[in-house]
Symmetry: C2
Subunit: 395 residues, 2 copies
Amino acid sequence: MTLRLARRMSGVRPSAIRDLLRFGADPSVISFGGGYPDASLFPVDELADVYARLLVPERSAALQYTTSNGLPVLRAQVAERLTRDGASVTADDVLIIQGGQQGLDLAAKLVVDPGDVVVTEDPTFLGALIAFAPTEPTYAAVRTDEHGMDTDDLQRVLEANPGAKLLYTVPDFQNPTGATLSFERRRRLLELANEHDLLVVEDTPYRSLRFEGSHRPTLLSLDTEGRVLHLGSFSKILAPGLRLGWAVGSPEVVERLGLLKLAADTQNSTLNMAATSAYLETYDIDAHVARMRPVYRHKRDLMLATMDETFPDVVTRTRPEGGLFVWLGFPEGFDATDFLGRVLLPEASVAYVPGATFFPVTQQPNHARVSYSGVPDDRLVDGITRMGRLLHREL
Amino acid sequence: MTLRLARRMSGVRPSAIRDLLRFGADPSVISFGGGYPDASLFPVDELADVYARLLVPERSAALQYTTSNGLPVLRAQVAERLTRDGASVTADDVLIIQGGQQGLDLAAKLVVDPGDVVVTEDPTFLGALIAFAPTEPTYAAVRTDEHGMDTDDLQRVLEANPGAKLLYTVPDFQNPTGATLSFERRRRLLELANEHDLLVVEDTPYRSLRFEGSHRPTLLSLDTEGRVLHLGSFSKILAPGLRLGWAVGSPEVVERLGLLKLAADTQNSTLNMAATSAYLETYDIDAHVARMRPVYRHKRDLMLATMDETFPDVVTRTRPEGGLFVWLGFPEGFDATDFLGRVLLPEASVAYVPGATFFPVTQQPNHARVSYSGVPDDRLVDGITRMGRLLHREL
């Protein structure tokens, strides 16, 4: 047959993330690629307990269909957590989604027509570019530094793109740079969003994983106009294999996202929602996250210290205050994709995500994202050391 | 803020299904609305066993991310099941999806541009119309009878719509009519699809639930040109709360659906995939389904017998050989939506799905879909009897 593709498919192509999830499955490769949490931190015993309590005949509703917006009790629990984080949220404001990624798909469907301008950090989360692609956006990218999106540059970008509809940001421990948006810039970002009437998508998968520095308020909590769509996820604080996240926003936004969610996949897994709700009811997730933070701090420190010892000085790296990622800068002319395929994987069985595809407008080849979270300490040191040796030879 | 919606949102509106999933949650209402399987048939003990075996520290991979196309072992098991059902399928041909519904969303994204013609049965599955809506199709609807889609009418419809791209069908125990496509029509449908170069989406959520009559081959098994995209689901044979289904098609289709799946939600729940795979490995799902069939046959018989006793003769009903649904036809001039809201719910606390919204082009108000699967016997008899009494009064 002749497959007559829809026009949107011209922007839907194989991605670095997908290939790297494949590398990650090969146990002989030390992969700093995927944003995998440390599997040894999953609360396995507690989850075993809650699943066992649900999988009994009297509770067969946990295996049945439920309402498409998500189990009401879980929505209330998410609302309560966000309220403790400074926003004023009720269960009705919460939509349970299939991980944060689904929120990106739904948000783009909600507002983006082909050609519409989406504003992002430069670089930005590759998974967001993948999620947005089927809606055929064009991009305007805003300069970032160690304090996140540069709001002076954002102002220029918005003035140059008066029709922009959606601003996408990862304000806490950004993917891929690890940078956190300063308080002043959060306020300024919202002022500019108000001025230009943007929907602001605040993506916060790493927010609870701060192991250093001081707490910043969410954009959701600072928003006075109902223009922030806040996305969060249980993937990094509980387990990614449950595929549970949340979307919170104004009634007119959440109502429509709920319709798009119903259209896309009916609902999330009832069993996983019920189990997560039971976990939150029975156990202390904040205490669990508090136990994770020093582990990730230790891994960040170990990675940066190993880089200090083994990397050439010309290779820059960021120092995140939380989250999972360090962002590497190589000298001009260095091609991180070429180095990965030609040297790092074949000679050292080490992988990272080449940085080029994180840039929505002008790809810069001399960057890479490395994650310290999913690799045991000995392999982390081993992998970074091998990478350092090859970088010395290459540079 | 002023929410500037994307154009596709003009077709995304609240649906009867969503409202009825809400009715279904009210225990005082006897709802024949949702296509809920009988929760007492879920293999709870077996699922408790497989989850307990997975939720141990040595198997933390079940809580981690995995490849976006789905756990390879589960893909192989699905391929093996479909091969036993007459198609030649390998694990590479299988994409694991979030229930059959996600396959509809992905299929429409793959080929439908705004205004493209999608051909469906008349009436067709409401959830498919909801899934397709964000791609802004137009519809051409094909007459159906007790043997499914009328292929003479299909020929006329295709000649009248030479640009049609996608043909959607539920060949086994259709939703909402319960009709099954005859063998001759299956062959003819594919001939016409070949002639008009259509992508055929074969949706088979109820296929295993045949309790009467003779087996028909899948369109997938009859396809010689790689034009059938076959969708299936564990929702009705295992449990809907796991949200697991599969999409099977040609390499060029499945490759691209995988990219769309990654964009939409990264992957299905690793834990639920691993548990379903372990269930299939340890237990005999065919024996389980064989135990379900007489239960559904009994419920169909009980519903039809109760209708024979209590319904006015002018109300027609179909007699499905499997699946979950009976389709009611009321006299001309009867409005099933009005009757539900004005009489049936307030006076009898009984619900069905009004039929109008199942018609993609010209809504016929004098139909309703009733499901016998999810209601205990005593409530089934009670609810149908109450409905019959009110229908006698009304007609």
